[in-house]
Amino acid sequence: MGTPALSIDQLPITFRGTVAPSEIDEMGHMNVRYYVHKAGQAAGHLFNMIGMGPDRRKRLGLIHAPLDHHVRFLKESHLAMPINARSGIVAIAPDCLRIYTEVLHATSGAVSATFTGDYVLTHGLHGERTNFPKDVLAAAEQYKCALPDYGAPRGINLPQPTVIPNWQQAEALGLAEISRLEVGTDKIAADGAVRPEYFIGTISDGIPAFLSTIDIDRAARLNDGVGGAALEYRLFYFRRPEAGELTITRSGFIEVGNKTFLHGHWIFDQNGKPLAATAAIAVTFDLKARKSLPMPPEMRAAYEERVVPGFAV
């Protein structure tokens, strides 16, 4: 990679909005799926800036989509907070742009979350991947930036998935089923397939059930002001399903540390074919002090017992 054209502070604003009441979850902060949604919108604006906006894509019959996301959650976002995002490009290949986006608290300028994702162009939903036009690649050079340390992988360093999810293997490993859903039309992007935030959303909705099988007083703990929060996510998207398709998420613990735990998820379609794989690091979270808590020894022991040997993402 050559010299970055832009410092992080010089990156263009690619999203402006406000945290809506409907985006706040039971932990009192913006749910993870809405960060991914905002990062997706930001990528759309960046594509427009480099000459590959919706008009040109439509004219050429092309769609753009992320192959993956690496996400760091650094600071909570609360109700009615103005939110900005700025984006740049950390790597350029003829058929792939690695886009970096950071979601900011607009008033303080604090970085709330960072996203790195490889974006490609395809001929329609089911068509072949294609190279970016030369003028787009040239324009992309103008938005090159270096990945900041706070946006780099910390606890999950997975450049590629180490394994492709396999239903039979999920059965053999005894992975827990944490969600069983139908893709609704309200989850569909303009290109006709599910929006990427669907995947992190199914995991976010399924984790409480997953933890409830171990931490049986989860509801009581929530009443006592103890919840959970995600710190880092690695998401690989293999196929985005369409409306009416079915999804099942199978999950397990991969590793349990002193304060954090690493959990993994394989998401399948109605035919047991892989749609996505995800690894995530989470902490126990004090909902009053709004900070992470050390994991109680009994919880850690219980989680360690549930680590699935041989399970990877």
Partner: protein, 304 residues
């Protein structure tokens, strides 16, 4: 029973009563049917290929327990009856945190043409698979008998006006309300009923100020009949009124009607209670409440 849905109660599923809104029970049962359809060998691909999907003709939904924020839940489903033209399916929603039944849905499932909304005979393969899955109903999940609008009452705009039904909602079908076949999802019918219910309560002079009193309306049981399916941009209106008051519950009729043709899209008879959001329990009806219902109730006997 077979596991057909598994999810979580999010903040955006909670309504002003502090519990999961009825429309999300319906959407869970609809998704459960999608999973069951796949198990019956007639999933999305077959439905698209044949232009017909397994579709609920009726849903009888029992709301047994409130579902509060951050509850984990699942739906188990069973085929409990097989006929040439329909299956009888029972869904049971289970609150996994409390390990108790939260709701159930008894459905008549037909093979409905996704363009014309006409019903077709069930394919032999579906009948064969359904017979393999056939099981006895879980008695806990079966709905109790409830009152219905008499069968001879025509469900249309003309009758709604003759009966003096109130107009509770007027809207059009939006793109994100459609299912995979371009039909308005049943969840949104229930959502419209839920939104429109306060108009009916106020029409009879009750629940005028739920925010101040802490007393609102809560649905106990609903019988939905899907006559047709609204499509994108179709305009509709909901008409309704109460027609029976018991010691603790009231029964209403609500009809979603096409505003152009006046024909029915979905009709529902619903049993509801007045619900104290502080005590989290139903309030009995007083004689004064009942008198208000009597004064404004729909009089089916006036319709020949």
């Amino acid at each position: 029973m077979l596991p057909t849905f598994r999810s979580f109660v999010n903040t955006w599923n909670i309504d002003e009563m502090g519990h999961m809104n009825v429309q999300f029970y319906v959407s869970s049962f609809s998704s459960a049917l999608a999973h069951l359809s796949d198990m019956l060998g007639h999933g999305l691909i077959e439905a698209r290929d044949q232009g017909a999907a397994l579709t609920a003709r009726t849903d009888q939904i029992v709301y047994a327990r409130e579902m509060r924020l951050a509850v984990n839940f699942m739906v188990d489903s069973a085929v409990i009856g097989v006929a040439d033209d329909h299956l009888t399916v029972l869904h049971k929603m289970i609150n996994l945190d409390q390990d108790e039944m939260a709701a159930s849905c008894l459905s008549e499932i037909v093979m409905r043409d996704t363009t014309s909304d006409t019903d077709r005979p069930l394919p032999a393969g579906v009948i064969e698979r359904a017979n393999q899955l056939l099981e006895d109903p879980d008695p806990q999940a079966m709905p109790r008998p409830q009152g219905h609008t008499p069968a001879h009452i025509p469900r249309n705009l003309e009758t709604a006006r003759k009966l003096g039904m109130t107009e509770n909602c007027r809207d059009l079908v939006q793109a994100d309300q459609l299912d995979a076949f371009g039909r308005m999802q049943s969840r949104h019918s229930m959502g419209c009923y839920s939104d429109g219910a306060s108009i009916m309560w106020r029409h009879v002079g009750l629940l005028q100020n739920p925010e101040e009193t802490g007393v609102g309306g809560a649905v106990v049981q609903t019988h939905m009949t899907y006559h047709s399916h609204a499509r994108l941009g179709q305009t509709f209106a909901i008409y309704g009124g109460f027609w029976k008051a018991g010691s603790a519950s009231v029964t209403s009729a609500q009809w979603i009607l096409d505003t152009v043709t006046g024909k029915p899209i979905t009709c529902a008879d619903t049993v509801a209670v007045m619900f104290d959001t502080n005590a989290r329990k139903a309030c009995p009806l007083t004689n004064e409440d009942r008198a208000k219902f009597e004064a404004k109730k729909l009089k089916f006997e006036d319709i020949s």
